[in-house]
């Protein structure tokens, strides 16, 4: 096991900057998600760490050892590919045995290790099958067993759950997390699925256009996004834009929105505030304001019922705001109804304009 340090790594393909001065410290034993839209550079970064491609500039080290010019086969990493990449000409057991057998391990050692790895992914009885005889979820497990049987220093996963259907994906998320905890391996996981990143990882790095936008624990990024992009890419957010008032902003129509304590920007500059849809309360009357400093009036334009909750779309001064309300059995609001929205400054994140 080992931590991975990526320092100031840049990589260009022709005129396209796939990675632009990216630095991340992947702690030993952590489960890390690299999240970003397609073309954000997350897979390029993973391939630099794996050693399929070398950075133009910058350093990469695994367990303190500089590896940025070391080819993949010498890096002692384990990798799971998006399409699993199982060798179709070999049985499941031979697939898992591959890494040990190219190393020249003794047959008896290989057989025992392979069985242990297959048991770990709960496929102990399927060693004799061929990959094409397995379901998608089973292939996924074989790919994982094959990647970890060699006891790599780092486990790299390239959108490993992308090809699975929703129910299976949730199962595999839990399974993957269990296995990762059990062997305690540093894991770096590329995904474009924000839910997957939130539920599985200890830390998330958000990439956009080859740059690291924000990095930290899921709760921190969700609660305190540092950019509009981070706020809207990880989860949903209502964004208000205006001029800063120090610890909040003033909208163009003069309405003030207060942000939580500690958030201060030089007054007068352009800035925005982000509010999560589930933090806003919606009511029909102007009623008592029970301490919520931020109040806006609007009109419901649409309601989407999703069983345990409803999403209201509220029109306000040409902007559509999203509000998510838990289904408590209370009266539901009709489309076209005038409403008042309230939320606390603590639920409001002040973001400097970039």
């Amino acid at each position: 096991m080992a931590g991975v340090q990526v320092s100031s790594v840049s990589r260009s393909f022709g005129a396209h900057k796939a990675l632009d001065d990216v630095s991340i410290d992947f702690a030993d034993g952590g489960f890390y998600a690299l999240l970003g839209p397609s073309g954000s550079g997350k897979t390029t970064l993973l391939r630099q760490i794996a050693g399929f491609d070398f950075p133009d500039t910058g350093r990469i080290s695994i367990g303190g050892e500089s590896v940025e010019r070391v080819p993949v086969e010498k890096r002692r990493i384990g990798m799971v590919f998006q399409n699993y990449a199982l060798f179709p000409n070999m049985s499941v057991a031979d697939n898992v045995a591959f890494g040990l057998s190219v190393r020249g391990e003794a047959k008896a050692v290989i057989a025992a290790e392979v069985q242990r790895a297959l048991d770990l992914v709960q496929l102990g009885k399927l060693g004799g099958r061929r990959p094409h005889q397995l379901s998608g979820g089973q292939r996924q497990r074989v790919a994982l067993a094959r990647a970890i049987v060699t006891k790599p220093r780092v486990l790299l996963l390239d959108e490993p759950l992308g090809a699975l259907d929703k129910a299976l994906r949730v199962d595999m998320q839990i399974e993957l997390k269990r296995i990762q905890r059990e062997i305690g391996i540093t894991t770096i996981f590329v995904t474009h699925d924000q839910e997957e990143a939130l539920t599985m990882s200890d830390r998330i790095g958000i990439l956009r256009d080859g740059r690291l936008v924000q990095e930290g624990p899921p709760e921190e990024i969700y609660d305190r996004p540092k950019s509009e992009f981070a706020a809207t890419f990880l989860g949903d957010a209502n964004i208000f834009r205006g001029d800063t008032t120090g610890n909040g902003i003033r909208l163009p129509d003069g309405t003030a929105i207060a942000a939580g304590a500690g958030a201060t920007l030089a007054a007068g500059a352009k800035a925005s505030c982000a509010v999560r849809p589930e933090r806003i309360r919606i009511a029909t009357d102007a009623g008592a304001s029970d301490g919520d400093a931020n109040t806006l009036k609007g009109q419901v334009s649409k309601r989407i019922f999703a069983g345990n909750n409803s999403t209201y779309f509220v029109e306000r001064d040409g902007q559509t705001l999203k509000v998510i309300v838990q289904n408590t059995g209370a009266d539901r609001l009709a489309e076209g109804q005038d409403v008042v929205l309230r939320w606390s400054p603590e639920s409001t994140v002040l973001i400097a304009a970039n």
Binding site: P71, E73, G78, N83, A85, V102, A147, T150, L156
Partner: protein
Amino acid sequence: MAAQSATASRSGLRSALPLLAPAYLWLTVAIFLPLSAMVFFSFMTDLPLSGKSWAFTLGNYAAFFSQSLYLTLLLASLRLGLEVTLWCIVIGYPAAYVLAKVLKGRSREAIFLLVILPFWSNGLVRIFSWAMVLREGGILDTALNAVLPFKINIDLMYSYPAVIIGLVHSYVPYMVLTCYLTLQAIDDSLIEAGRSLGASRLQVLKRVIIPLSMPGLVAGAALIFVPVVGSFMEPRILGGRTGTFYGTVIEDQFVAVFNWPLGAALSFILLAVVLVILAIASPVLRRAA
């Protein structure tokens, strides 16, 4: 379930009949009929042309076994087929690999064109141009002596190597094409997966790429081996005196000696031997594939 799928495939065959019929009619007319005439000839004492009397005989087949020359030549031809096939693998497989896995876009198209160019030139022209290259004082000899500081004599004409060179040149595109098709179907991520597991490029080649491209190698080898064993044009023109092979002997029976029955019998013995070799080789090759 099984019965159902059997019915389905039977009705599938009926609806596919109009699509199959032209090809099979053509094969019947173009191959089966002349071939059965040749089978018939091979059992005759003489050609029934120009009113000569003839009778049925096994003598033509007996001739093969009574004269050791035919067996010697057959073995020489089989060896020729094996060597040409091996050279085609040695030369064609790396080219196919580069075409399928290294080159992309325009450069791939250009190199591909160069590979299949031999197909577009006339066979005789191809062989005679080799003759100009290989003979003493020919292009190869002159060019090498122009470059090298010492005098050497390159006269490959009328030799076994010349026959090999001519045949490999003619047949290597088959190997490139069949291997290219199977190599191209191998997902790059399989190669990357192998390397991520600690395998060197050579180990990945040996344990992943070659086994997965085996069907292409086998198809290419069969496409090359069979016609090379019966080849006569390249051996005759490039081999000269040394170019006597089983194929040239068969050709002689048809065009020089006019002993069609013997020529036909020798052809069918060759066919039988090749079929036996392929039958023996196929389970081995299928397991390898």
